[in-house]
């Protein structure tokens, strides 16, 4: 493969690749992302390949593995082209039916189509699926068409033409102006204007300058960056190269967390292929511009995703943050000017260049332009990655796209921004998702993880979970974060165990203020957000825990217990067997009773009690009825 030496050669290659594709040729596209792999996608691919071979259809049907399409709950996902039929939850046992019914007879396998939850209709096209209908999948749509291990696919969809335009038709200053005009804001959580960051780095003194892709994605519940890095690494590399040109950098780093092995592998392959084609490395596209990229794997520390900490980690040291009065844009890696942006921010850059800043500004709100990918997870029906224009309301996100709350339960709260974000109660569901709007109500956009909670989630418990997580991930350098979070955790643990005292909530607020104001980095600075918003909007839950020793959601272990209703128990003996601490007494025809002293409240008895009996119930500890006398016989219903 010869290196591409000019934009016209790139165009020629693109036309060649497109010419080889026959739009009418049937092809089977299977999602090979981590989510679908977890549900058996690799076996589906193997069985399809075997079936094609057996029926002598090799060469007549293409089979392709692509990146993550975001609807992981309904994976493995298979798309049949050219009809664009979407099948969900495909198992290897379904392959033969798909082969005979759809490939050969050109019919549909109805049970594998998406069933709308409300209308119970089968969706024939993707535009019929409520999950996708309301999305604007600018960044993610190409995941369905590209095999991340083949650069030709990316070139065929128009890839690298933005880079060609930048290198031959624009000066670095013009690129900078375009990005500033588009008002692209960082998608990693801070929302800082990207153009301004690039400009600071460009104007800072010191050589060499570095550009960095932040694919650490430490926020639990977020997997947007995984999907982009796994499914379309070239879009990020192209954006990075354009940014490097604008800033004047010749060396770049991609920091990927090692918990994403597929993303690491696909990025490695992408870099190698781009270098082979002359789209990375020396003399890119024959323009004389040099730029090399190295991969740096993370090693499992949440705090290392913070920009100054990440740069310290790239230097091979422990990833601890540095004080912020020195901007990393001026003194970053090895004290040289370094520009760090999130994966999604970089992926937006080629689109801004090809389609123009005005196109980008046409979506979104006044302060937040463009689209954003969110990961909608938790207690909704349709969980997955959602790409929407900024400004959509939470209500639309949860009910129109998410399909409402699972199992018909009641909505309680939605949490956005991970451990740095805040809880949004029901009365604020019409807030528009926008960087500035969220700050006003005490939350933060963060990386875009949206976790929906229902009536069975205890807000105090989730706040405690976040503080627990952050206190473990704290690097320990500064006292407010290290000690403050530990004390807050202590108080929250006591509240959840029923040992809360009057004044605890006020103490939490005071500690939060201290931690927020005095911490060195954003981990400590934003850690109190979940606690503060939970106190602000769900004060009654705290009161219930402290004053009444009662957990409204029935979650906090010390405040609930399990009780076998005597009138429903049929003495089948299953729970007696399954109880891990042998806490249930009873025998044939003798009502089963739980010994509260031995019960560890693990929920096993509730899980295993046969549905037709449903004798076990979870009740507040203080409402425990008087116990049934031992050896009481079961009253059998006829």
């Amino acid at each position: 493969m010869n290196k591409i030496k000019s934009p016209s050669e790139l165009e020629k290659l693109r036309k060649e690749i497109l010419g080889k594709k026959d739009p009418k040729k049937p092809s089977i596209v299977i999602c090979g992302g981590t989510g679908c792999n977890a549900l058996g996608a690799q076996q589906v691919v193997t069985v399809f390949k075997e079936a094609i071979k057996k029926q002598d259809l090799e060469g007549k049907i293409d089979i392709k593995e692509t990146g993550c399409l975001g609807f992981c709950e309904k994976g493995p996902r298979v798309i049949i082209y050219p009809e664009e039929i979407y099948y969900f939850q495909v198992q290897s046992s379904d392959v033969s039916e798909i082969m005979s019914k759809t490939i050969i007879e050109k019919g549909l396998v109805e049970r594998l189509l998406y069933t709308d939850l409300v209308t119970v209709e089968k969706a024939k096209n993707i535009s019929d699926i409520s999950f996708y209908k309301h999305q604007v999948r600018t960044l993610l749509q190409n995941n369905a068409k590209i095999d991340p291990k083949r650069i030709e696919d990316y070139i065929a969809t128009g890839g690298y033409s933005a880079l060609a335009k930048v290198l031959y038709k624009m000066t670095p200053e013009q690129v900078l102006e375009e990005v500033k005009k588009a008002n692209l804001r960082g998608r990693g959580g801070g929302g800082f204007p990207t153009g301004r960051k690039w400009e600071t780095t460009r104007n800072a003194s010191g050589e060499p300058k570095y550009v960095i892709v932040n694919c650490d994605e430490g926020d639990p519940g977020a997997f947007m960056n995984r999907s982009l890095m796994e499914g379309n690494p070239h879009s990020v590399l192209e954006g990075l190269t354009i940014g490097a040109y604008a800033i004047g950098s010749h060396e770049g780093f991609v920091y990927v967390r090692q918990e994403y092995p597929l993303a690491v592998e696909n990025t490695r392959i992408a870099i190698k292929q781009a270098e082979k084609h002359g789209l990375l490395g020396k003399d890119i596209l024959g323009s004389g511009f040099d730029f090399t990229v190295k991969i740096h794997r993370g090693a499992g520390a949440f705090v290392s995703g913070e920009s100054s900490a990440l740069m310290t980690a790239i230097e091979g040291k422990v990833g601890e943050p540095k004080p912020k009065y020195i901007h990393t844009a001026e003194k970053g890696i090895w004290d040289k000017p370094s520009n760090l942006n999130n994966v999604e921010t970089w992926a937006n850059v080629p689109l801004i260049i090809s389609k123009g800043a005005d196109w980008f500004r046409s979506t979104g709100t006044e302060g937040s332009k463009g689209t954003k990918i969110f990961s909608l997870v938790g207690k909704v029906n349709n969980t997955g990655l959602v790409e929407v224009p900024m400004g959509i309301t939470f209500r639309d996100m949860i009910y129109k796209i998410g399909g409402g709350i699972r199992f018909g339960k009641k909505f309680k709260a939605v949490q956005i921004g991970g451990p740095s974000g805040g809880f949004i109660p029901e009365n604020l569901l019409d807030t528009r998702i926008d960087f500035d709007e969220l700050r006003k109500i005490g939350g933060m956009m963060g990386s875009g993880g949206i976790i929906v909670m229902d009536e069975d989630t205890c807000i105090v418990d989730v706040a405690r979970y976040y503080i627990d997580f952050l206190s473990q991930e704290s690097c320990g350098k500064c006292v407010p974060c290290r000690e403050g979070l530990r004390q807050m955790l202590n108080i929250l643990n006591n509240i959840c165990a029923g040992k809360g005292k009057d004044g605890d909530v006020e103490l939490l607020e005071e500690l939060s203020e201290f931690v927020m104001d005095a911490s060195l980095c954003a981990l400590g600075g934003t850690a109190p957000n979940p606690v503060l918003t939970s106190i602000r909007y769900f004060r009654d839950e705290y009161n219930a825990h402290i004053k009444e020793n009662y957990c409204p959601a029935g979650v906090c272990r010390e405040l609930i217990t399990y009780y076998i209703q005597p009138e429903k128990c049929q003495a089948c003996g299953i729970c007696v067997r399954e109880c891990p601490t042998e806490a249930i007494y009873g025998g044939k025809n003798i009502i089963h009773v739980i010994d509260q002293k031995k019960c560890i409240r693990c929920n096993t008895c509730l899980d295993v009690c046969p549905e037709r009996f449903s004798a076990v119930e979870k009740i507040p500890r203080k409402s425990l009825p008087l116990s049934v006398p031992p050896d009481t016989k079961v009253v059998r219903k006829r």
């Binding site: 938790g378 979970y465 891990p580």
Partner: protein, 226 residues
């Protein structure tokens, strides 16, 4: 004495051309003879003695019954692998974390002799390596079991009762998260987001993902592993 040992001995005697680490490696190979050479390298002798003790201790941790010489030659083989890993990154100090990640992937933990070797070769204090190994969660300073169970406790999986899955496994295996079973079969740890949030609660064993779990399903999965 065999031909090979003869040549190594003469190399050691003309040791001006060898780097300290090569010296150590070769010295280890013919340890029993080294002390009789009367070479004027007290520091090397001290290091060799230390590495020799580590080799025996290492064999004990891995529950390998070995004579002293076999333990040493086992260790020398593994240290050569570590050399290979370091060469891949050009023995660059700045790639320390990447080197440690590769050693962790290969051995499933970071044995002390390997860390001592890395410290020696890269010219980095051993304390700095321990600083990094104890800061990042990916590294383990104790041996892991044959199968490493990682239960996800990220927010999405937590809200879908991920904690109960972890507890069920803890009860079944009689260990807590972060520990290894006494027969060396399973190690258990909790992680903070594997990126499969839509399938929660999720568990990963040896690269195989299991989603949409309940406590009973998770325990059943364990019986597939020998």
């Amino acid at each position: 004495m065999s031909e090979k040992k003869h040549s190594i001995l003469s190399q050691l005697q003309n040791n001006a051309t060898l780097s300290k680490s090569s010296l150590l490696l070769r010295g280890l190979e013919i340890l029993e003879r080294y002390y009789t050479l009367g070479l004027d390298q007290p520091l090397i002798r001290f290091e060799l003695r230390r590495l020799e003790e580590e080799a025996v201790h290492y064999a004990k941790i891995l529950k390998r019954i070995r004579r002293r010489e076999e333990a040493i030659s086992d260790l020398v083989q593994e240290l050569r692998d570590v050399e290979e890993i370091m060469e891949k990154y050009g023995a660059d100090k700045n790639a320390l974390i990447q080197i440690l990640l590769d050693i962790q992937t290969r051995n499933h933990w970071l044995p002390k002799p390997h860390l001592m070797w890395v410290a020696e070769r890269l010219g980095v204090p051993l304390a700095r390596i321990y600083q990094i190994a104890s800061f990042y969660k990916a590294f383990s300073l104790t041996p892991k079991g044959r199968h490493n169970i990682r239960v996800c406790l990220g927010t999405a999986c937590y809200v879908r009762q991920g904690q109960k899955i972890l507890e069920a496994i803890e009860r079944t295996l009689c260990i807590k998260a972060g520990e290894t079973t006494s027969n060396g079969k399973f190690s258990l740890e909790s992680v903070n987001c594997i990126g499969c949030c839509a399938l929660g609660p999720v568990m990963e064993i040896d690269g195989q993902y299991y989603g949409e779990l309940s406590a009973t399903k998770a325990v059943k999965v364990l019986s597939n592993y020998s």
